[in-house]
Symmetry: D2
Subunit: 290 residues, 4 copies
């Protein structure tokens, strides 16, 4: 009977479909210290198939942000991160890269700074330097990109708006790009929610573009932008307004409105577009540095 | 603090992406009695968005089989069954249907009959009748279909070969269509594995086609066949031989070899093809019955 | 040498890829009389694979409109109409249907009425009745649909706005939905162009939705709408405004913004989406009539 | 009236969809001298969007072969070469490259050598050198690739089998990989056809792999192979046998069997896969040369 169990376990590992055939890329959960947030902070890291083997090679990095109320385990567990990355890298549709999923849901869900909670400072002053000194990373704008969903879609856009000199690409999925006042599931009288959404609104992505100086707009043009949103998503209006603002400012961007809603099915399919998109940019930037 | 937790929970439910917006189809785990297997038997059922509301409507049924070592929870949990079905039905690319995932991994993993374990009898003599008397089903060949992965891909083909009068469509994904003797992870000296794989070989799908009588072949032509297999899958050879055997017998079939391996990423994407495929057939059969 | 030529011709027919394997659907160019336009009028008709064989079967109809300056030969010759329709019908992703391409480019390019040129009247009072009495058509709202590109995308929307009781579906591609005043290639002082574009503006699709009465909006909801536009298309802004207006009016619609520009590559790929979209609706409507 | 015509012409150019917006890549028809074939020989060349502007940049080259009975104008005119290449390069899914379509249909349709007609010698000894001295080309294996359809699919495979040291990638579409004796449209008693098909059979691609020495197989592994064939194509069997032979020889390859037949719709969609495929390889090879 024990034999049977072992055997069944073995078959299970194979037939049920490995995320982990030997030599494929895999996700690890880790922590890093943060002085700014005054605590240890979790993150997930995907290391590509040949990371352990090619020990003299450096890799581009994608920072992949989760949504409101989520955590660094969302993309690996709900978003099939390793499965998708392995699939695309094994067929060469994506280039090998390191993917970092920060944890932004704990204690106070937000990607931005307020006096008590300087998450954006943590991200730029601690997380990026930590990643770049602990992994074999190509540490320049041309090999550093952002992607994220919902509130992480806003994080993606805002981080690239604040620091266009840091990222070559920004891919926002179902981005919650400003405060929506008509969401029945949010109690805006709740002090925490009020604070969260005030920060969201303070970082209104559409307003940022509309009010950007010519110099700022010139900088925004150095980032490759990609806006992806479902046609039934409650964030569609905000995303379309963002697209129109970007076009009015003559900042080139890719736009996709595909079938879907605010769901993991959508973000799952979005990652199949996002990874090749940033890969082509990473590759081109490697060539131009020659 | 409790307030915070509640709030975060609420946001989580929404922002992290519902599989369950109100009014969407959902999966239930149930059991049914089996005299043949002498036990209660689990299954999962997906009920489409309007099943509860349209109480005078009957629905087509898809039987969706898991792989070796798996269970009835695989498609719902690893295969995003509800997420995919909802996505496709809300956009009308799939028609509303009931989807049944039998449990075939418990006690003895196999879809076929041996003297001690008459699973195929259970499926045809107990499960199908149970489903058709407990759910609002259109109980005819034209609205009953099969799909499955790996060993469930073999189950799909074999059930439709044995009972072409029962199914309008059969969609096999990465089908393990006969015994492979070179799988390092199987101990063929293990008595259980030996028995499992003997049954697999007794139901060799390629041999079945090659040896089919003209009358049998005529019957096989009444089923719409679909073979889907990854180009890096260890079952590719068997699947290509099956395709060639079917073409030699002039039995029409759809074939897709897509990028991928024996993984859930592959089967996830396959379900996006399978549901529209059987939907078009269900719809056409509803029209022809007019 | 003649032998050689003949042989090469024969190979050419096959190897170069038939649009016309025996038994596949094909396009015919025809004319019909028009009293309203006071002339004979060209059109193209695609008859599906089994039209000649199934002489007791009636078919749904799609009216497929060309763009500004084009003609009824555009979809067959630039848009690969027969090739795409055959491909999708042979795999059953589209249902067999008749496809009519009217000629709207001759004499005065426009789909609408002005005192001298009552094209919209021609379409409704002469063309549709002519088609329905000369081809085996299912002549009801449930089996009559519209699709079109650019100015034909506006025609699609406007015809369905004016007569929602006539069409089950409207699929607009790169729709030129109101007059654009900043097109460098249009001389708006040219009297013909001025007149054409005045008619375009008189039929402003966005304004129509914004100003629609509750009763009209209820009628618009009986049509299945689909808006498809390239992310680099000069009509993108108008299309996004139309989507936002439709959503504000709570009229359900499908929206796709895909990669591309105002090109035949875009419309070619759009037809691969449009035919399955209207097919699912035609099929459902055939079932509901039972 | 002249005014009207001019205006309509202008609108036509725009609304009907440019293949040629200013600054997009375009196709030119040219000739080159051949001593081996003792004549001037036609070819088509696609120059990418920035070729004229970036006068100090060199580009990778794809040789794109037509099918039996075709000519160098097939890909540009039936295969929408410029439209597809522009679409993919403008969105960066393909890298800018030069695409050369040789003429192999004139006088004697075949890609191979016989004593009277040394086309393969022409291709390697005259055409490639001509291209590399007349266009700004990166003239190495890492930036030289092959693709082709039907008899050009055989040409693709055979050229890469004969000269794996010359090409980084070979993408065969609906490849006619050996002589098919059951084609009703070929008169095998016709002396020209007999000769053509003898050459086809002399270059049997499956046999080549089966009989390859270990050293040859090692060389074949330096090419990235891609086999793409429709599931209803009459060449399917040959293509599946080729895939199985390559897998038996442990030569990595990509395989896609998609819906379709021996048609331009199939090859049109194949080019959307082929150009990104070779682009990723070109890009990686540029990086590795650093």
């Amino acid at each position: 009977m024990k034999k049977l169990t072992t055997t069944i376990l073995l078959i299970f590992l194979v037939f049920a479909g490995f995320a982990q055939w030997p030599g494929w890329g895999k996700v690890e959960y880790k922590t890093m210290p943060s002085k700014i947030l005054n605590q240890d902070r979790e993150y997930a890291v995907y290391l590509p198939p040949n990371y352990e083997k090619n020990t003299d090679k450096n890799y581009p990095v994608l920072y992949l942000l989760h949504g409101g109320g989520g955590s660094h385990t969302d993309w690996p567990e709900k978003g099939s991160l390793a499965g998708i990355a392995n699939q695309l890298m094994l067929s060469n549709e994506a280039t090998e890269m390191i993917i970092i999923c920060p944890e932004a849901g704990k204690d106070f869900m937000n990607y931005f700074n307020n006096p008590d909670w300087r998450y954006e400072d943590y991200f730029f002053d601690e997380m990026i330097p930590f990643v770049e000194s602990n992994y074999r990373v190509i540490a320049d704008k041309g090999h550093r990109a952002l992607a994220g969903l919902s509130m992480g879609g806003q994080g993606t856009v805002v981080y690239a708006q604040h620091h266009p000199e840091m990222f070559c690409a920004a891919y926002t999925m179902s981005g919650y790009l400003y405060r929506h006042d008509n969401l029945f599931w949010i109690d805006f009288n709740d002090p925490v929610q009020k604070k969260v959404h005030q920060l969201v609104e303070d970082n209104n992505c559409v307003k940022f573009v509309n009010e950007a100086s010519p110099e700022k707009i010139a900088n925004l043009k150095t980032v490759k932008w990609f806006v992806d949103c479902g046609d039934d998503d409650f964030t569609l209006k905000a995303n379309l307004e963002f697209v129109l603002a970007m076009q009015a400012a003559e900042i080139p961007l890719q736009t996709r409105i595909r079938d879907g809603n605010h769901t993991w099915e959508y973000w799952h399919s979005a990652l199949y577009i996002a990874l090749p998109f940033v890969s082509d940019i990473f590759r081109d930037n490697s060539i131009q540095q020659q």
